[in-house]
């Protein structure tokens, strides 16, 4: 049975300096509010894990929370580059950022292996690319039946995974629907987990396309209405596409970025 907590308490209890932290959500249901709370609480030295480090990771990186990034695609979807990510990689600002770079298929399978209690994943991937030259966590394994060589990747086991979902019931069973990405796997792969939800309800009426995560498989649930903004929560909010476009200008300059964080993250619970 998951513990019901406030966002601030949940982050304080579950996310520690130096942790391996995954915030997942594939365009939809990105746990922005939780990311902002991590910035507010000043976490340092995090290894951030995420298939698509987009604006939320740009913010965490620019705010100096991260020392390492495990990822497969780092961009502002539909807009362009992540300037804080680039600045960290190209100029070590505000701190050097070590990269562990994979493909989507690889990251997804690494979470699957983690969720399955296996030490590694097998897939057809990476072959012929330059990724294995630079990423130490890409190896091969031979099929014991056909002899064929396949790609092997180590399981992802974050210290903590944070996701956002539509709702939860009073014992912390979590329900999400729409595009649910790799969230189930990311939660089950982690040692601890925090789910932010739009609301608590007495009963989780079944919804087509739902993924339900039982409360006993989750560490804590926090009510954070609008917790995915500027990402969206199907059935609750729409994506703030303007914000994603605006982020390009906000994040391009270090001072503009710092001013934005000071005003919208450090001084408020949830950004307007």
């Amino acid at each position: 049975m998951a513990k019901i907590v406030s966002l601030a308490d949940g982050i304080a209890e579950l996310v520690h300096d130096g942790d391996v932290v995954a915030l997942e959500g594939f365009t939809h249901l990105i746990p922005f509010a939780a990311g902002h709370e991590i910035i507010r609480q000043g976490r340092r030295g995090l290894t951030l894990v995420r298939m698509t480090p987009d604006v939320i990771y740009d913010q965490l990186i620019g705010a100096g929370c991260a020392s390492r990034l495990v990822f497969s695609w780092g961009g502002n979807p539909g807009v362009g580059s992540l300037h804080r990510f680039r600045d960290a990689v190209q100029h070590s600002w505000p701190a050097p950022l070590e990269l562990e770079e994979h493909s989507h298929a690889g990251m997804a399978n690494r979470y699957v292996a983690g969720a399955s209690g296996l030490p590694f994943a097998v897939l057809r991937g990476y072959t012929g690319t330059d990724l294995p030259r630079h990423t130490a966590t890409i190896r091969t394994v031979d099929c014991p039946f056909t002899g064929e060589t396949l790609t092997a990747l180590p399981a992802l086991r974050p210290d903590v995974t944070v996701v956002h979902a539509q709702r939860a019931d009073r014992v912390g069973n979590v329900q999400m629907w729409g595009i649910t990405g790799v969230q189930k796997e990311a939660v089950l792969a982690a040692r601890r987990s925090l789910v932010t939800v739009e609301e608590f309800v007495d009963e989780l009426t079944p919804v087509p396309g739902q993924v339900v995560l039982p409360g006993w498989a989750i560490t804590a649930v926090a009510r954070v209405p609008g917790g995915a903004h500027p990402s969206y929560t199907q059935g609750y909010s729409v994506r703030d596409n303007d914000f994603y476009r605006d982020w390009d200008a906000i994040s391009r300059d270090r001072d503009t970025f710092r001013a934005w964080i000071a005003r919208h993250v450090l001084t408020t619970e949830v950004p307007a």
Partner: protein, 256 residues
């Protein structure tokens, strides 16, 4: 229609849409590929199946999605599956006929770079977004269509980083690597179309868009561009294609 009536980007998108046969299954990225695939669906290929890596199989959006995880994709899909499932059950076994890819750099053998340009991997001149789904799309789809604006910076003799494999260093490389898909059969640019020479695997100019010259294409290519014997010129966009494309693009502006 004359060239004054449409832009090079419109011609590129129309040419990409024409490439898609009705009834095929297409793995679509956001941006030009998504526009081209949706254009095909509202024109000659109503039975085109669009698969988005966010897990939406058979999405039928009535407006252009703004992101790969746009809610309109889930709302209109035949099935929404997890991201691991879309890669493992649908892409990896070769169930996708056509994969669309963009490129920051593309070399003469169709290898693609979307990772780093210049400097070294550890200290690059430009850090790009990285691989995303591309390496496995390039490996496993029946064929790959690359859509990219042509310039000497992009069309380079050798990519700085192989993010997604085309024909490697030449014919036989895909088979040697065990890649099961056919590789990049078509590269569609704002100037024309390149296709691999069957003997060498080298991208060769096979079609020009109306009003474009071979010299322009050569000037925008960072290697000595071979031109196919049977070089042809694409039909310009039809009024119907153009109207459909512009109607689709208007939906982008209408979405909050």
């Amino acid at each position: 229609m004359s060239a004054a009536d449409w832009s090079a980007d419109e011609m590129m998108t129309v040419a990409a849409a024409r490439q898609l046969r009705d009834g095929t299954v297409c793995f679509v990225g956001i941006g030009l590929p998504s526009t081209a695939a949706n254009l095909a669906r509202v024109t000659h290929a109503p039975g085109l199946v669009l698969v988005y890596e966010s897990g939406c199989l058979g999405a039928k959006p009535d407006r252009l999605p703004l992101s790969i995880g746009d809610g309109i994709l889930a709302d209109t899909a035949d099935a929404v599956v997890s991201v691991p499932e879309v890669f493992n059950y649908w892409l990896q076994p070769g169930r996708i006929d056509v994969g669309f890819l963009g490129a920051a750099q593309l070399d003469r053998h169709g290898n693609i770079n979307t990772t780093v340009i210049g400097g070294s991997y550890a200290d690059p001149a430009v850090r790009l977004p990285g691989a995303g789904g591309a390496p496995e799309i390039a490996a496993s789809c029946g064929e790959v269509v690359v859509i990219v604006r042509q310039s000497r910076r992009t069309f380079t003799g050798r990519v700085d980083f192989v993010t997604s494999v085309g024909y490697g260093t030449g014919p036989g490389d895909r088979a040697r690597l065990g890649l099961r898909g056919g590789g990049p059969r078509t590269v569609i640019t704002d100037l024309g179309v390149l296709e691999p020479d069957p003997a060498t695997g080298e991208l060769t100019l096979t079609r020009l868009h109306p009003g474009v010259t071979v010299e322009q294409a050569r000037a925008a290519t960072g290697w000595p561009l071979a031109v196919a014997d049977g070089l042809t010129t694409n039909e310009p966009p039809t009024p119907d294609e153009l109207a459909a494309l512009r109607a689709l693009q208007a939906t982008l502006k209408a979405t909050p």
